[in-house]
């Protein structure tokens, strides 16, 4: 159909679904994070691989894993700084994100990387980082309860009123 002087009609709409979503077998990771500022990984009972983020089964061996407490330190494997993003995060730009391999972990996890001087050279591969936590009243048992900072900025970040260091 080829209409002369076509006029379109647009409607406003939105899709919203509410959840009470279980973290299932990973629940302990989020509870320990929220309540005790612990970062838990899992270790395969069979091959010994340390998974971070944790999973209760080893995908390589099809074996169960054990919970292990991880150090709060690690290194950046790769990072980027985001300047334009989704409607849910656009008010937060610029922000840094990095794949961080915790000491003793065999895999890297995605986390926010904060810095007083957020430039590519400050969040480069190999940069040593340390976890900083939100205050207890602000922690919700979500990944956003903590983030990483370059090791040399750790003291200044945990001195801020809204944050604290791990145990």
């Amino acid at each position: 159909m080829n209409e002369q002087n076509f006029q379109s009609h647009e409607i406003r709409d939105r899709i919203v679904i509410q959840y009470k979503y279980t973290m299932g077998g990973q629940s302990k990771f989020f509870l320990e994070l929220m309540n005790n500022k612990k970062i838990l990984g899992t270790k395969c009972k069979k091959c010994g691989k340390v998974w971070m983020p944790p999973r209760i089964n080893c995908s390589e061996c099809f074996a169960d894993t054990d919970w292990v407490e991880m150090p709060h330190t690690g290194i950046i494997k790769v990072s980027t700084i985001v300047w334009y993003t989704t409607s849910a995060f656009i008010q937060s730009v610029p922000y840094g994100i990095a794949f961080i391999q915790l000491d003793k972990a065999d895999t890297g996890m995605l986390q926010g990387i904060f810095s007083e001087n957020l430039v590519p050279s400050k969040v480069k591969k190999g940069q040593r980082v340390k976890a900083v936590f939100k205050k207890k009243e602000d922690r919700e048992g979500k990944m956003t309860d903590f983030f990483f900072v370059p090791e040399d900025e750790y003291d200044s970040w945990i001195a801020k009123p809204q944050y604290e260091g791990g145990s």
């Binding site: 209409e3 076509f6 379109s8 647009e10 709409d13 899709i15 973290m23 990973q26 971070m52 983020p53 494997k77 790769v78 990072s79 980027t80 700084i81 985001v82 300047w83 334009y84 993003t85 989704t86 409607s87 849910a88 995060f89 656009i90 937060s92 922000y95 994100i97 794949f99 391999q101 895999t107 890297g108 996890m109 995605l110 986390q111 926010g112 590519p120 591969k125 979500k142 990944m143 956003t144």
Partner: protein, 421 residues
């Protein structure tokens, strides 16, 4: 049971546009199907939608379409009631995976004529706060990231892909920002020859370098635009090709896909798209081609250049050049006819303009790429036809998903290409 031979006998691609105010997704799908039927019939065949026995639908994102089972609504709109229709959704690679499943439909003997169609209409998403579409389109895509560990960090498509490009740079010293800019020059430039492309443009290295930063080091002109379009292929068995008297069937000789780890941090090296490597090797093997000599065995490649740097990495992973030599390959061949991935180069990559030039209508994209490669082998691509089709073979490449976890590679050949070494 051995596989039956499968040919592409019809190609239909709508223009890629920022927005179709005058079409819904099912109306766009109708247009592409109609174009594919016309293309099939142009040498005297007389098939209609009633002759199509099944459909495979490539539709990535329910949130774009505001409809969680869009395929059934297309199925009815196309008059395909009471026949099988199956939807594929594999992120940015949806198109390639859809071609693979449609191939299987015919190769297995389930159908003799199968409609392979992709459609996407993203820009009905709208962010009321900024009064623009893109942030809400990106939000609709971001739910494809792992929702527990990665979405809450503000992960999105560009930041996921840039992670691999940055890690590749750390390992090999390339692609540099300038080398990535050359991909933008090439694909925006090729798009000027393609009337269906959304982003035809003359750009310079400086234009790319000074365009708006998206996520370091990707700038606006390194990234494809999300687009609205539909693309359709009609696939036929060998018997149908003969029955219909199809003059230039394009045979699908290799189809392969690989899903690599969806968590980038679990991969052995962060700077690799392992899905590309596995899919390419398997597709070439099926087609009887050699991963180490592939550049000499094909005439043209339609690659998945959602981001400039990731096209560069694909040169290596698809076997065109050794690891670490992708960046120099495009940079050193600039304005040197007969060299590199340029449209007049040794292996033209994305003569259609690719995603950077055409736009990315996600579910339609890989089907458009396969269709474009088929038109090249028929020497009917139009102004962006590459000069030499001598091996008679081409590839189309699709990637997508969190950290490009999905990849599909399709190898096609014209009649001559079936038998050449």
């Amino acid at each position: 049971m051995s596989k039956r031979r499968v040919a592409i006998i019809g190609v239909g691609i709508t223009p890629f546009r920022a927005r179709y105010l005058d079409k819904t997704y099912f109306e766009l799908a109708y247009d592409a199907t109609n174009l594919a039927l016309d293309d099939t019939n142009k040498n005297g065949a007389q098939i209609t939608h009633k002759d199509l026995e099944s459909t495979v639908y490539g539709i990535y994102n329910e949130l774009f379409e505001r409809q969680f089972m869009p395929d059934i609504f297309i199925n009815s709109y196309l008059g395909m009631n009471n026949k099988p229709g199956t939807r594929i959704a594999s992120g940015g690679a949806t198109g390639g995976y859809t071609v693979r499943m449609a191939y299987s439909e015919v190769a297995s003997g389930l159908s003799d004529l199968c409609l392979c169609i992709g459609v996407e209409k993203c820009n009905d998403c709208y962010d009321e706060k900024t009064g623009t579409t893109t942030p809400e389109v990106l939000n609709a895509i971001a739910y494809s990231a792992d929702m527990t560990y990665e979405y809450p960090m503000g992960m999105m498509a560009a930041s996921s892909y840039v992670s691999m490009v940055n890690a590749h740079y750390e390992e090999f010293g390339n692609p540099t920002e300038e080398q990535m800019a050359y991909v933008s020059i090439k694909n925006h430039g090729n798009a000027k020859l393609n009337p269906k492309a959304q982003s035809p443009m003359d750009v310079t290295v400086e234009d790319v370098m000074y365009s708006r930063i998206i996520c370091y080091p990707f700038k606006m002109l390194d990234c494809c635009l999300y687009s609205e379009a539909s693309a359709a292929l009609i696939l036929a068995s060998e018997q149908k090709v003969k029955e219909l008297g199809i003059e230039k069937p394009i045979w699908i000789t290799g189809v392969a896909a690989a899903n690599t780890d969806c968590f980038i941090g679990n991969r052995e090296s962060v700077g690799r798209l392992y899905s590309n490597i596995y899919a390419a090797k398997a597709a070439y093997k099926m087609a009887g081609l050699d991963y180490n000599k592939i550049k000499e065995q094909i005439d043209v490649a339609e690659l998945h250049d959602a981001f400039s740097g990731q096209e560069v990495i694909s040169y290596e992973e698809l076997g065109f050049v050794p690891f670490g030599e992708g960046g120099p390959w495009i940079e050193k061949s600039f304005e040197k006819p007969g060299e590199g991935p340029w449209i007049d180069g040794e292996l033209p990559c994305c003569p259609s303009g690719g995603l950077i030039g055409c736009g990315h209508a996600v579910g339609a994209t890989g089907i458009m790429s396969t269709g474009e490669a088929a038109l090249q082998l028929r020497q009917e691509a139009g102004k962006h036809q590459v000069k030499t089709i001598e091996k008679g073979r081409a590839i189309a490449h699709s990637i997508g998903g969190p950290g490009a976890a999905y990849a599909a590679v399709i190898v096609i050949a014209n009649e001559e290409g079936l038998n050449k070494p």
